[in-house]
Assembly symmetry: C2
Homo-oligomer: 151 residues x 2
């Protein structure tokens, strides 16, 4: 299944974040079946609010496609986007969003609020729960380590 193929790549990005002590979230942007950009969360390393996986992937895709509009692109991310990232997805005109596990505390595509249902000029298609179990493993491990003082 195509969504799982790209979610696996997003998962590999999340693993890279995990390895360097960042909240493990990974993302890829895809157009016409090809990966345009891939990124993982780097908020602590960059010390920047907007260094979430989705923002970095969108930034790299804009640079590669030389446009702030990413119509025709789909985005795969291992965790439900926060309001900033969900907003950037809406602003960039990304066509479809596929996310893995839900984020009950900060998710803006169904959990805390659902920005996809608001009356914006552009509304992406949103598909949650793709490879949900696999995508929730890394965050669970991460936060367990954080609580135990290992990180």
């Amino acid at each position: 299944m195509s969504a799982e193929k790209f979610m696996r790549l997003a998962w590999k990005e999340a693993e890279k974040a995990m390895e360097i002590g960042e909240v493990p979230v990974g993302c890829v942007v895809v157009r016409d079946g090809e990966v345009v950009s891939a990124a993982h969360n780097l908020r602590e390393h960059h010390r920047q609010t907007d260094a979430h996986a989705e923002m970095l992937a969108i930034k790299a895709a804009c640079e590669r496609l030389d446009s702030w509009q990413l119509g025709g692109c789909d985005l795969y991310v291992t965790m439900e986007p926060c309001p900033m990232c969900a907003g950037a997805i809406i602003q960039s005109r990304i066509r479809n969003v596929y996310f893995g596990c839900y984020d009950k505390k900060a998710g803006a595509f169904g959990s805390v609020t659902d920005l996809a249902t608001c009356n914006w000029t552009h509304k992406p298609g949103v598909y949650g729960g793709i490879m949900e179990d696999a995508c929730s493993v890394l965050p669970k491990q991460f936060f367990a380590k954080l609580r135990s003082g290992e990180m």
Copy 2:
């Protein structure tokens, strides 16, 4: 009045955007009564989804304060933030947001939706309509020029 003092600086930033053909929105981030960063919309020039005034001001503030958390900072922006920028304000832990005119089509602090009322870990104080008439002049001029083919 303090809010108007800083909104005037944001307005001057919006004017810079207007001068170069960008949607005229300007922003300043303030801490302890001092300007930490100032920016204006550069989306077309940067060809980046996230080159909104608020995102650029938050990025510059993070760099200056060497942290992705901007607790204790207030943000002044001439127009109601879109969902991406409102989300970044929430994520960055900015204390209070003061905005000028409302954005009926894309505003995420009261117009299309209100992200300040959702159950996030951090909720900023939001004050809309500061110098509303003055702040709405530049966007009105901009879109009138756009429609008339002058831009």
